[in-house]
């Protein structure tokens, strides 16, 4: 694929219909397929992990419980007592993104979180949810947040547009952060993999040098494991922060 003098770093993000004509008709590409795989993996992790229902958990059950406690504490600590209601949503969000990020690291796989359409949809969902919760919890007082408390009224024409802009930029930053991180990571992996192939074409010295990019790719894989978890966490914690502001009075 990337052999020759050019490197096709972005070809990996192309969508192709799966299941032949049926996939084409249903607009079903490898991206939704990986979403289903990610969802099944998350559900299987919980169902299989919790099957023993042991008072003293085994390793898999302990892992499932740690995941539950981790997100539960994050939701309740950040949002407050109302966080219990949003906990399943935050849990779904975190593990959907985490599984997507990690599945994308497998060979021949696909990272649906590297598509800006997906991340924008996720961010808009969070944004719309937080606005709905805000209006429900605070009513018209929600709009008072656009004028910072204690600021001089004379500055309102300046402050209110800035506040509105910063509020509206939330879904943008939320979606671009995840999308850009995933794209950058996958491009880097592809670049160094291509270097290896190019160097291997140079004969004996190239074979020796080609080890370098492989080593770097191993390190990059570790970095991507970190980034994948970190971005899922950032997405979830920011969701919690927005929801806290929504339920706060």
């Amino acid at each position: 694929m990337a052999a020759g003098s050019t490197i096709d770093a972005l070809g990996q993000f192309e969508l192709h219909p799966v299941l032949g004509g049926l996939g084409e008709a249903l607009r079903f590409s490898q991206s939704p397929l990986m979403m289903i795989v990610a969802s099944v993996a998350v559900l299987a992790f919980l169902y299989v992990g919790m099957r023993p229902k042991a008072v003293v958990p085994g390793r898999l059950q302990a892992a499932a419980e740690i995941c539950y406690d981790f997100i539960y504490n994050m939701a309740v600590d950040t949002i407050g007592p109302e966080g219990r209601a949003f906990f399943p949503f935050v849990f779904t969000l975190f593990f959907f993104i985490l599984a997507g990020n990690y599945l994308g690291l497998l060979p021949f796989s696909f990272a649906f979180t590297s598509h800006v359409a997906v991340t924008v949809a996720l961010a808009l969902m969070v944004f719309v949810l937080s606005v709905i919760v805000s209006l429900k919890a605070q009513g018209a007082k929600f709009f008072a947040h656009f004028m910072p408390a204690g600021a001089p009224v004379a500055l309102a024409p300046l402050l209110v547009p800035i506040e509105i802009l910063s509020f509206l930029s939330r879904p943008v930053s939320l979606s671009i952060r995840l999308f850009a991180n995933m794209v950058a990571g996958h491009v880097m992996l592809e670049m160094f993999a291509a270097f290896t192939i190019m160097l291997a074409g140079l004969g004996l010295i190239g074979d020796a040098l080609a080890v370098g990019p492989v080593v770097i790719n191993v390190a990059l894989m570790a970095l991507e494991l970190l980034v994948g978890a970190l971005q899922a966490y950032v997405f979830a914690i920011l969701t919690c922060i927005y929801l806290r502001e929504a339920v706060a009075h």
Binding site: R27, V55, A117
Partner: protein
């Protein structure tokens, strides 16, 4: 053609390989990587929007399954564990309280038994002391009575002895006077004189 391209690559590579590992950015900026544009932004491809619709459905299903089924299962296990631990702790706490009260009772019983035993010992000692005292007193009283009686008997004997002494003295004096003078003196004179003499000698 391919050979010359390979050799030119080799030449460039021999110059750049030390840098190549450190400069992926240069290659990323190469025109070949950008020529097509990002597939993510190719919204003419129906699959790009299609994945959003599919994603919404899949996310909703995942959310419903997690919130209705999977997460409550985890919660149930966690809750039952917390209850089990709390119950066990309660049982342990109750057992400890029972043991504590049993120990207290034991101590109490020991203390009261000791007090009772001490009281018994004290009582026995006191009784013995009183009995000994009473016996001593009885003995003393009896001895005193006997001494008294003996003294009375001695006094009576002495008085009796003294009484008969006067009579003997009277008769002896009368006999002596008759023998010496040849005349008898009236008895009452003799008695008076002996009385005087006896009184003078403290008899």
């Amino acid at each position: 053609m391919a050979r010359s391209a390979a050799s030119s690559i080799r030449r460039v590579a021999s110059l750049l390989t030390p840098l190549a590992l450190a400069l992926p950015v240069m290659v990323m900026a190469a025109p070949g990587a950008r020529a097509v544009g990002m597939p993510q932004l190719d919204f003419s491809n129906p699959l790009v929007i299609g994945q959003v619709v599919w994603g919404a459905v899949i996310f909703l299903v995942l959310y419903l399954l997690l919130s209705r089924s999977a997460l409550p299962k985890v919660e149930a296990v966690l809750t039952s564990r917390r209850q089990t631990i709390d119950n066990d702790l309660d049982i342990a706490r109750r057992a400890k309280a029972e043991a504590d009260s049993a120990v207290d009772e034991l101590h109490q019983a020991r203390r009261s038994a000791m007090a009772e035993a001490q009281a018994n010992v004290d009582k026995v000692i006191e009784d013995a002391r009183l009995a000994a005292l009473r016996q001593t007193q009885d003995m003393n009283a009896r001895l005193a009575t006997e001494i008294h009686e003996a003294e009375a008997r001695v006094a009576a004997a002495r008085t009796a002895a003294l009484g008969s002494l006067r009579q003997i003295a009277d008769e002896t004096a009368q006999v002596l006077v008759r023998q010496v003078t040849g005349t008898s003196v009236p008895a009452d004179v003799v008695a008076r004189t002996v009385d005087h003499a006896a009184t003078a000698r403290g008899l």
